[in-house]
């Protein structure tokens, strides 16, 4: 990373320096803060400011791994964490592939993660712009109420060091605004949301967030439950982002090694429509989850996972790579100091097509535009591939958007949906998510309603 956070790095270095003979140690030290502002009916409902810090220590000896963490950087507590991690080592099963990452010479691609303007942005202006977002949203349509308007920002500093020679530190900050809406008709209430992200508040597009939040809720007023049938769906960019994110676990090298991915024996096969090219590219600064290092401190990199529908690559951490006799793709993930590294995609992107959503709608004789999905965690199984989610949106007939529909599900399998992709939109939206989105057209999906 570009900036060194000297005191955190010094803490990590001191932990690692205590390694005994035959002992590998990794120390991950972080510190961060956040601001959360919520406006309701023109008033500040809450203002929360917080700081946190902590350390996670991984110890590996004779193929056994132990881990411990604490939410403090108090020296006595750090000593206790190291002692706990060492104690935990003895309970692990020896694993010949266990170990820390080793520097691989892949260069980091510099990016800007710290915005000085955001760091110095005054609180009263944050409150004012959140009030403005609420006001703009209310002004969009008289049927719209605002459930809450939020401003959130956060900053983080991190340092990692290992006995294998990893030594990285850096810092970053980010912010976004979001608004949830309610739209009322005589007998019913529907909900919507909108948001905007930026390096600093000057990048926010409040107008767009307000417009989307109002439209999402009002469009669904008067929605009916549709009849059950097989149909073509157009996923809105926000829904496409959620769909792509699910694929991460199927492309995860550790899941492949442990027999948890239906792609395990499919390398080189046509697993998706030829229009479908999926890359994981945290080096793209447009991605919300862009980063220059992965969770083990190796350089983040661009990996082409599915190219023209052909399965090309799985993502790996150093552990899964050793198990699969390959090299890390820089895809170790980490949920802060309290977690040890896992494997996953970092910033998923589809190579976009050229059509707008309007053009895609015009190309569909009979289908449904999916605006929202629910129950992705309860109705989608990335191991079997079964896919079933609650949905709401608008019917499409003869290339035109018609009646709103809700209280139905869409279902297929992930394996089939990838092959049933008919078109990929050019309407890329860089969402605050691990995957970006664009309109995606998938045929032969079962819609279950009445």
């Amino acid at each position: 990373m570009s900036t060194t956070v000297d005191d955190l790095q010094a803490i990590a270095d001191r932990v690692v320096a205590q390694a005994g003979a035959g002992e590998q140690i990794e120390a991950y030290v972080s510190r961060g803060g956040e601001t959360a502002i919520r406006i309701y009916e023109g008033e500040l409902e809450h203002f929360a400011s917080a700081q946190s810090e902590g350390v996670g220590i991984r110890v590996i000896k004779e193929g056994r791994t132990g881990f411990a963490y604490a939410g403090t950087l108090d020296p006595a507590a750090i000593a206790e964490v190291l002692a706990d991690a060492r104690d935990n080592v003895s309970f692990g099963t020896p694993d010949e592939f266990a170990g820390l990452a080793i520097p691989d010479g892949v260069a980091q691609i510099p990016q800007k993660f710290w915005d000085e303007e955001l760091a110095g942005y005054p609180t009263d202006k944050k409150i004012a712009l959140t009030k403005e977002l609420e006001k703009l949203t209310l002004g969009m349509d008289e049927r719209v109420r605002v459930d809450e308007a939020n401003y959130d920002d956060g900053w983080g500093e991190v340092a990692v060091a290992t006995t294998t020679g990893i030594r990285e530190s850096g810092r970053g900050n980010s912010c976004y605004v979001s608004v949830s809406t309610l739209a009322d008709d005589e007998e019913e209430t529907q909900t919507g949301f909108g948001f905007s992200v930026g390096d600093s508040p000057k990048d926010f597009n409040l107008q767009k967030a307000a417009r989307e939040a109002a439209d999402r809720a009002t469009r669904l007023l008067g929605a009916i439950k549709p009849p059950s049938k097989r149909t073509t769906v157009i996923l809105d960019p926000y829904v496409t982002s959620q769909f792509i994110s699910i694929l991460s676990s199927t492309l995860n090298g550790e899941n492949v090694a442990k027999g948890r991915s239906f792609f395990a024996e499919r390398m080189g096969d046509q697993v998706a429509d030829p229009r479908f090219t999926l890359v994981d590219d945290p080096t793209n600064p447009l991605a919300y989850t862009a980063t220059d290092i992965d969770g083990e401190g190796l350089a983040a990199r661009r990996n082409v996972l599915i190219e023209n529908g052909v399965l090309k690559k799985f993502v790996h951490s150093s552990y899964s790579a050793r198990r699969m006799n390959t090299v890390s793709t820089g895809n170790a993930t980490r949920g802060g100091f309290a977690g040890s590294p896992g494997v996953g995609c970092l910033a998923m992107q589809l190579v976009p097509g050229t059509h707008t959503q309007e053009e895609l709608i015009a190309s569909v004789d009979d289908g449904v535009l999916i605006q929202m999905v629910s129950g992705l965690h309860s109705g989608v199984n990335p191991i079997s591939g079964d896919f079933s989610t609650g949905a709401s949106g608008m019917l499409i007939s003869n290339g035109t958007v018609g009646a709103p529909v809700r209280e139905f599900t869409i279902a297929s399998t992930l394996q089939r949906m990838l092959l049933d992709i008919v078109a990929i939109g050019g309407d890329v939206d860089w969402l605050p998510s691990r995957a970006h989105g664009m309109s995606l057209v998938i045929r032969d999906v079962t819609m279950s309603g009445t």
């Binding site: 309701y40 008033e43 500040l44 409902e45 809450h46 203002f47 929360a48 400011s49 917080a50 700081q51 946190s52 810090e53 791994t65 132990g66 881990f67 411990a68 963490y69 604490a70 939410g71 403090t72 206790e80 706990d84 935990n88 309970f91 692990g92 099963t93 694993d95 109420r145 809450e148 209430t189 529907q190 909900t191 059950s228 442990k258 027999g259 948890r260 239906f262 309290a338 629910s374 129950g375 965690h377 309860s378 109705g379 199984n381 191991i383 079997s384 591939g385 079964d386 079933s388 989610t389 609650g390 809700r406 209280e407 139905f408 599900t409 279902a411 079962t446 279950s448 309603g449 009445t450």
Partner: protein, 471 residues
């Protein structure tokens, strides 16, 4: 019964000074929540104990309320200096101006004694915890040759909390949780299928005296094996019979969230303005009970310092009350209901469920199935999600079967069911007499997860939409 040293996390005189600092800018209310949590977890995957983890989470959150504005700050620095700094930050956030000097007299609150802990998990050797995982792995793999992968997890935590506020509330609790889960994959001609089972209670390691780890693992494995023969779930509306236990998730989604006073107050619940009205079939009585001994959502005091309670929300179909946290109840001039909860010291409390369940009816569960011509039998529910404003909700079926001519026949692949809360509550036409609680759950709201329990007897909904793919 082991005696634990019981020294307060923070001395009362420090607490009083911090609360007074919280009100120094004129706020009418200040609160401190202190947490010290120690946890141990262990994971087995692919036949190996991958890692044992020890964790320590410790800090304080300070909430200050002035008018309709809440200021909140949290810190991991529990020194008086650190706490005063957080209190000042929260006070400034809530209001500008001078509120003068406040003195606060603290009155201890009696916690509801949830249950006795026989064996605190921190007194148990880690080797015994790891051994449970290995037993689960062996048991699951022994069920069938088609079991190709097993992962098992063990977790325990001991969380001490202290809550005090400027209204004089002073309370403390020690919350112990012990959990085990097993995930299994079976591989067959039609691809892979999964099985899952979990066990969790607010008790110590004695949980394993009363529950058999092998049985837990075998059930997960059997679920995966059964699903190897599963056909695609049907598509469209039909009769749905929901088995006792995990079926309680239906009520958590169909009405639980919609009865949370914060959502009702903002007009984002389909149940607003329905107090005293018939909102469900007369067969339905819904209770939220934080006092339920040993259950996953049981708490001695809620995270605003009030003793947990048993609250009837819907009685014989009639809406009798919403769930309340202290702040919203205080504003309405009524009593809170012990439902103010937060994920950790770093989060603001909200109205949350504890153990939510539906009470017994009179039907024999076998008769409910026999009375059903054509439908789906959901033997195990996964999670769910609800839009409280419209009432539309989904829940997942992780183990389900077709019912044909009053008999359970073929297993079905996974999928979601969708319905509208108020409609589904009215459409419940048969209620069994075999009440049971389901497994441990985590309820998510506004980014915070809290442990909850759900339960119900076997029951029937006369029409719900099954989100499968078969005609």
């Amino acid at each position: 019964m082991p005696q634990r040293t019981d020294s307060p996390l923070i001395e009362p005189d420090v607490i009083a000074r911090v609360l007074a600092k919280g009100r120094s800018t004129g706020a009418e209310f200040s609160e401190i929540y202190v947490e010290d949590k120690r946890s141990t977890s262990a994971g087995l995957d692919d036949g190996k104990v991958e890692q044992v983890t020890s964790g320590r989470d410790r800090g304080a959150g300070i909430r200050v309320i002035a008018g309709d504005t809440t200021g909140f700050a949290h810190t991991s620095d529990l020194s008086e200096r650190g706490l005063l700094a957080a209190a000042e930050a929260a006070a400034v956030a809530a209001k500008q101006g001078d509120g003068g000097v406040h003195t606060i007299a603290l009155q201890p609150v009696l916690r509801h004694p949830v249950n006795t802990i026989v064996q605190f998990p921190d007194t148990v050797a880690k080797a015994r915890k790891v051994e449970l995982l290995q037993r689960a792995d062996i048991a699951a793999r022994g069920v069938h040759g088609a079991i190709v992968q097993v992962s098992a997890g063990y977790g325990d935590s001991i969380k001490q909390i202290l809550i005090a506020n400027s209204d004089g509330i002073f309370s403390a609790d020690e919350q112990v949780r012990t959990l085990m889960r097993v995930s299994v994959i079976a591989n067959g001609d039609a691809g892979m299928q999964t099985g899952y089972n979990s066990l969790g209670h607010t008790i110590g390691f004695e949980i394993f005296d009363e529950n058999d780890v092998e049985e837990l693992a075998i059930r997960a494995a059997q679920q995966a094996i059964t699903k190897l023969q599963a056909r695609p779930a049907p598509s469209g509306a039909m009769q749905v019979v929901i088995k006792q236990g995990s079926g309680g998730v239906l009520f958590h989604e169909a009405c639980g969230h919609g009865l949370e006073a914060d959502l009702v107050g903002k007009g984002s619940s389909v149940y607003r303005g329905k107090m005293g009205e018939l909102v469900a079939s007369p067969l339905v009585t819904v209770i939220d009970d934080g006092t339920m001994a040993g259950e996953w959502g049981a708490i001695g005091v809620d995270d605003e310092g009030h003793a947990s309670q048993k609250n009837t929300l819907i009685e014989n179909g009639v809406l009798t009350d919403y769930m309340w946290d202290y702040i919203r109840a205080r504003k309405e001039g009524r009593k809170q209901s012990g439902n103010g909860r937060r994920q950790s010291y770093a989060d603001l409390p909200m109205v949350r469920m504890t153990n939510t369940f539906v009470t017994n009816g009179s039907e024999n569960p076998d008769d409910i199935i026999r009375a059903t011509d054509h439908g789906v039998y959901v033997a195990k529910l996964g999670g769910g999600q609800v839009d409280t404003a419209s009432g539309d909700f989904v829940f997942g079926m992780v183990e389900a079967y077709l019912i044909e001519n009053g008999e359970i026949t073929e297993p079905l692949r996974e999928g979601n069911l969708i319905g509208n809360g108020p409609q589904v509550l009215k459409d419940i036409d048969l209620m069994g007499n075999d009440f049971a609680m389901g497994g441990p759950g985590t309820c998510g709201k506004d980014g915070q997860g809290v442990p909850v329990g759900d339960g119900c007897p076997t029951l029937r909904v006369k029409s719900m939409t099954i989100g499968g793919t078969a005609a």
